[in-house]
Amino acid sequence: MSSELEAVIGLEIHVQLSTRTKMFCGCELSFGDEPNVHTCPVCLAHPGVLPVPNEEAIRYALKIGMALECEIAPRSIFHRKNYFYPDNPKAYQISQYDIPLAVDGRLGDIRIHRAHLEEDAAKMIHVGDSGRIHGSGASLVDFNRGGTPLVEVVTEPDLRSAAEAAEWARLLRETVRQLDVSDVNMEEGSLRVDANVSVRPSGSEELGTKTELKNMNSFRFLERGVEAELQRQRELIEAGGTVEQETLHFDPSDGTLTSLRSKEEAHDYRYFPEPDLVPLAPTEEMLREARESLPELPAARIERYEEQMGLEAEPAKFLASDPGLGGYFEEACRVAGAEVGPGGGGVEPRVVANWITGDLTATLRQRGDEEDFADPTVSAEDLAALVLMVTEKKISHGSGKAVLAALVVEGGDPAAIVEREGLAQISDAGELESIVAAAVEANPEAAEQIKAGNQKAIGAIVGAVMKETKGRADGGEVNRLILEQLGD
């Protein structure tokens, strides 16, 4: 029955902007400094202070809004969100409410409801065992973080599984990273993800009662937390219960969900327009600058790789995830003259992609290397030369791998390595024929099985040929010759 309950997930992502100074005062941003050294009367909320918006933060937020293909409001409004807590020195957070900076966008297949500017809270440190304010011996506040500019991105409830939610969150992180407006580091809290989770009967258009999962600090925890909550909701409903609206905390150490507050305990934030600020009206110059500064972003790149370069979804996503990697791939394609379709005659982009996503990545990873394609050990030119040699059957695929491994370790010219290691493919038909004949003879059992129709048995004879030729034979040709000699 649980399969009939469809997951409905929306995400709320807080992105700390990497501006030089805070959202409403001149204090510098910092991470890991001594507590309370980046403070002033404004971000400590002394009597009489006033906020002044950070123009750089507005420019960053515009870039995010545009990268998410949102409409930018000509005049967006800051509101006060009122609540008491020691990490909130004014007792209100300046945020955007009914007229946010950006609305109605999309990233990949997921619609963006809104993206707005606000300020971060300070950091609380609870002394004592519980780690929470309740029951702690004392609580300390570090105001260094208080007032850091944030952009909150809210999606529509378009995500349909925990895995999809995590994968989409990765795409968002990569997109924001490439805008160069945030460190997007989940562990350090410069990217924070909350999830709104509900289930409903498949095919239903109505939304079920949602719960909110707070602050999962890795994509893995996000996926696990959402999965756990989906399971809880499904079991609850199957047992005849109903989901209560509440805010939950997921503990990744034991996989449990604990309620932070119920609907009844929800705050009344008493939002009203912030009278200390005028409406945020970006100038034409700011809009143009934001638009022109946008690089090609992962979502657009994935689409181009799939539609124009004929890549499958997975390699397209992988190669588009990092601008250095994408640039490397495209350069190798260019050098190799890779073209889509049979008309190209030569190598296809997807073959180049396979070499990068498969063998090269595996080799680098094996070596424990950072996969830094902006500064790779194997140049795009060398990789292109290698791929061409394999495609043109000058060397076998297996030899290609060996050359690549040598390139990763020592660099150099692929053709020279082929020469030095004697890897050039055996092109003399007579020579290969006699090696195959010898292998057939040496494996009579396999030969009998093949004759009896067991094609799988051919592997043993191919293996023997490859061993004899040190991999320099073309696998397809060896197959053909074995079957020919066995009278097929």
Binding site: P41, L44, A45, H46, P47, G48, V49, L50, P51, V52, P53, R80, N82, F84, P86, P89, K90, A91, Y92, I133, S139, V141, D268, R270, Y271, F272, P275, D276, L277, V278
Partner: protein, 476 residues
């Protein structure tokens, strides 16, 4: 020395500029005078003098205790900020200092500027120098009393719903609320952010212009500040030939004391004698000003005053030990009754489910009041009213009736709601209801936004025509 105290600020500044008066001697004379305060008007007094450069060189200014002044206590008249010393100085005071002026002292006020009688100060009421049994008005009661009582040559205050103009009226001095945005609010402890505006309280209109000129200007620390284009010059207009004054048609308000009405009508005659024209103009929404004001101002205040939580500065009462108890005990002990009343009103008005009915609707009324003034100023140069419906009332007379107290703001509330400038000048004396020595009556002139220069010029001409020269304890 005492003749130094007779001079207006403009006269003294001229004397200092041409070397006839030594700036420190002038400041010292006023420091000695301030030390005789028996009106409970000062909460703190300066120990020493001022700089000697600039157009206000040597001029002592009494500063309402709502302006943050680095190194000097700043309480906003509240127990919760007792002993609070701000780490920075407000822009208005900084501008005065840059012009050569010095802070003479910090003046008593209604707690967080909430009040019309100065009886809401945590540090006791200020007495009216004309009659010590009466209030000086509020909330800038201390600033009005020191100027009227000869304890300072000039002062600054803040006006949210009349807090400069009404005490100026009750103390027989000049008080001006400039256009919203003319002077920076940075460092001015917020009561109602969309209404609060700093302004001068002075002996005459010329001194008001002098202080306004020093304080106005766009401030990068206040996004809502714009300054006054072209600055402010000292007024010099003679007569009011061809100037069109309008009296609100709805003014037949039976709450105006007969004595106040008489002075008001005499002043209208003076305007006509000076060549001005008097007409009636409808301001149909102004009568809802009080209702709108007492929703908007408390709503903003409930948010502005939430920062006084005992965590970072000011008073802290631990209570039972947990966070919520600390918040509750601190605020219960730190705030006075009127402040608590308005925080509750404002919190209620902003609550979900009530927002539209109260805050939303009050904002609509506010827009209509502004439109009424726009329509009036399309036809007339100025709108005039009595500043206050009564002369100074007795201490304790209205403390048990908040609504009667709120009605004091009837004529002064519409202008901040519309964001426009207005000035109160002393127009004469009237016998209070119930008898007693005659007391000052203020005359209010309101002008379109940023028409401060025209307003000061007209007020100056009228001031010359009225020739008010009565003083507390004078020949009456």
């Amino acid at each position: 020395m005492s003749e130094l105290l007779e001079l207006t600020v403009a006269q003294a500044a001229r004397g200092i500029a041409n070397g006839e008066i030594a700036p420190d001697e002038y400041f010292e004379a006023w420091r000695m005078a301030a030390a005789t305060d028996d009106l409970n008007a000062y909460l703190w007094r300066a120990e020493d003098g001022v700089g000697a450069e600039g157009p206000l060189a040597g001029v002592p200014v009494a500063v309402k205790d709502i302006f943050c002044t680095e190194g000097m206590p700043t309480t906003a008249g509240s127990r919760i900020l007792e002993a609070y010393v701000p780490p920075y100085t407000s822009t208005a005071v900084r501008h005065l200092r840059e012009a050569g002026a010095g802070v003479l002292g910090k003046t008593n006020m209604d707690e967080f500027a909430m009040g019309s009688s100065n009886e809401n100060s945590a540090y006791g009421p200020v007495l009216n120098p004309w009659d010590r049994g009466r209030v000086p008005g509020g909330s800038s009661g201390g600033s009005a009393a020191v100027v009227a009582g000869g304890l300072a040559p000039c002062a600054i205050g803040t006006d949210t719903g009349g807090s400069i103009r009404q005490p100026a009226s009750l103390c027989g001095i000049v008080g001006m609320k400039p256009t919203y945005g003319a002077i920076s609010r940075y460092g001015m402890i917020a009561f109602a952010s969309s209404l609060d505006q700093c302004g001068p309280l002075t002996r005459d209109v010329t001194d008001a212009a002098l202080l306004l000129g020093a304080m106005e200007g766009r401030d990068p620390c206040d996004s809502t500040s714009v300054g006054i284009e072209g600055g402010v010059e000292l007024p010099s207009r003679e007569g009011l030939e061809g100037v069109r004054f309008a009296v609100p048609a709805e003014l037949a308000h039976d709450a105006i004391e007969p004595g106040v009405r008489t002075v008001f009508e005499e002043t209208l005659k003076t305007i006509e004698r000076l060549g001005g024209e008097i007409s009636e103009v409808p301001l149909p929404h102004a009568e809802h000003g009080i209702s709108a004001y007492y929703v908007i101002a408390p709503a903003e205040a409930s948010s502005n005053l939430a920062r006084y939580d005992g965590v970072r500065y000011g008073m802290r009462v631990e209570g039972g030990g947990d966070l919520i108890e600390m918040y509750e005990s601190t605020r219960a002990e730190g705030f006075g009754d009127e402040v608590k009343r308005r925080i509750m009103l404002g919190t209620y008005a902003l609550s979900s489910g009530y927002y539209e009915a109260y805050y939303g609707r009050a904002q609509k009324v506010r827009t209509k009041i502004a439109a009424d003034f726009d329509a009036a100023f399309a036809q007339f140069d100025f709108v005039v009213t009595p500043t206050s419906p009564s002369v100074a009332f007795k201490l304790g007379e209205k403390t048990d009736d908040p609504l009667a107290m709120y009605m004091n703001d009837f004529f002064t509330v519409p202008m901040p709601l519309a964001g426009i400038p207005a000035i109160s000048i002393p127009a004469g004396l009237a016998t209070p209801e119930g008898g007693g020595p005659r007391l000052p009556v203020g005359f209010q002139i309101a002008a379109p936004a940023f028409a401060e220069q025209r307003l000061l010029d007209a007020a100056y001409a009228l001031e010359q025509g009225i020739g008010f020269d009565a003083k507390p304890g004078g020949d009456d």
